[in-house]
Symmetry: C2
Subunit: 367 residues, 2 copies
Amino acid sequence: MKIFTSSEYFDEQLYLESGRILEGYTLAYETYGELNRDKSNAIVVFHALTGSHHAAGKYEGDSKPGWWDGLIGDGKVIDTTKYFVICVNILGSCFGSSGPTSQTKKGQKPLRMKFPVITISDMINSQMNLFKRLGINKAYAVIGGSLGGMQALCVGIEHPEFTDRVIMLASTYATSPWAISFNKLAMEGIVKDTRFQDGNYKKEDFEDIGLNGFAIGRMAGHISFLSPKSMQKKFGRNYVETDGLYELFGRFQVERYMEYNGQNFAKRFDPLSYLYIIKAMNIFDASRNKDSLSASLKSIKAKMTLVSFRGDMLFMPSEMETIRDSLKDLGRGERVEYHCVDSSYGHDAFLVEYDKFDFYIRKALDG
Amino acid sequence: MKIFTSSEYFDEQLYLESGRILEGYTLAYETYGELNRDKSNAIVVFHALTGSHHAAGKYEGDSKPGWWDGLIGDGKVIDTTKYFVICVNILGSCFGSSGPTSQTKKGQKPLRMKFPVITISDMINSQMNLFKRLGINKAYAVIGGSLGGMQALCVGIEHPEFTDRVIMLASTYATSPWAISFNKLAMEGIVKDTRFQDGNYKKEDFEDIGLNGFAIGRMAGHISFLSPKSMQKKFGRNYVETDGLYELFGRFQVERYMEYNGQNFAKRFDPLSYLYIIKAMNIFDASRNKDSLSASLKSIKAKMTLVSFRGDMLFMPSEMETIRDSLKDLGRGERVEYHCVDSSYGHDAFLVEYDKFDFYIRKALDG
């Protein structure tokens, strides 16, 4: 499988849901496989909160492949010998697409805290411009988990002609106050960190360590990505053994896990991008601007495949079931397929336990 | 009902579970009702993480009564015309009993970060010394919720002759990694706050605002005290209306709730005390020093009343059920009563929805 990495600059205004305008923007993206002659074999993959366009394959010298390599590749469920797969770094992120700390209009300085609020709809609108430029007027399917699932749902609702197949995993139709409250910890952690300096930090100032408040916020995220059961299984009440000699009531393994993941993440991700993306997640509500969720879902033309995970503490199965039920009430029962996967990984399952759900994706693509 | 507030200084060594020794200590406590002639009508109430010995009644000029005023008082379930109720501020806390920022041995400076690690067993041992001094060799009942429930269970196991009735609510036999991970956010928040200064902060430095990192840690706590359902019911996706004019995608009500509670709490509670108490909570494991939970529970002689709350995200009903099942397996089925209360308040229910569980307490006391 060949990885093609690229980016496109759009020297045009993007009208945002907030009413503000982005004067120009860049989108970084990656593709795998070949676009066929009639450009009908494109599968759009949407990444989650902290993912990137690097969804599959390995760059030379890398030990780890892209974040959904288990699903995307030659002969895999999302078969790159058959499909042309494209994944775009979302607007607001920090991996090459325009965000608060990168360029928007060419020649302009990064907007930092003056970067406008971005919504899921805005992310999708920008990506639609890229697909158009690439000649893709219709995708064979769109698919995403978590924040990626929100994007997939948004396409189904707001661009109903764009695809016949929408696949969303571990996601929701509207971010719950429970999920918002986890994001709140990250917002507070970042904004109140003295080194954040109202968004005017220099990356060099904390390159080696990351913002502490950001690390704490990310630790909060990791609680919501796991679950009471998955933590029990993974860590129990085990202590970190190497500390045994030094500390009588030492650190628990679950504490070390959180430290490690929080701190490492704070080094590699940009705090302002994180703020803007969790804000977009918080704002997401598929029923906004409509009378009801039902009124929104009504415009969907694609066949919907919904996969939730039992024990997902961030976006609970009941939220996906609301989408299914709402579609059923609209008489679309035959156009929606719902599966709740038994998993002990919690929300993280959609990035881990491929063998428990990949056949649902296969079915959605073959059907 | 008369409130009697007092404190006792113990000019003696307290041998701690860690092997360290507290050279002296003070315990603040409150009592309601009268101790009868044979001192057989005492009910010991244990407070939770951030509670105090002020469990019931109002001080002159106060608008709010003690934290369990709904249960304790003349004619109430814990009837102060009948019982002598006592509640002791736990060791490590900051409301009058010895802790990291107060005096231990008379004339000694506060130990701050040199204060020894305290366990639930240590808290109980110190309280036992107070009860002895007051002439109470046996309590009619002991009762507590959350961290107070751990104390109640500890009495049942480690001081089996002290009472015939142990009542524990919204608690567990061992703190789960899930609960530990919420506490971890508070630990990191406090310790990494630059104004914490390795525990050598001056309260004056942040009297008006509180430590930011502490506020964030407390917000994390509030997530675990509520639940997805209770948040949905309480806040939904509602925005703070007063912000409407100023911010397009404004603050959610759940965000304001967290800010308010986190910040206010950080002003009124001591960060070092919080660190020491959540450490004690993390360490709590009723099966420690024994081969199994069963081996620990075996020593219990009291009748056990266990009350859990459906939707408690901190100490789940399944954890209380483990205690019940373990007691049943020991052939103590008739000496244990378990109730899971339907509530939409999550963990907080034991401080709120009295009418949903007070009859279980009445039954335990009358039985």
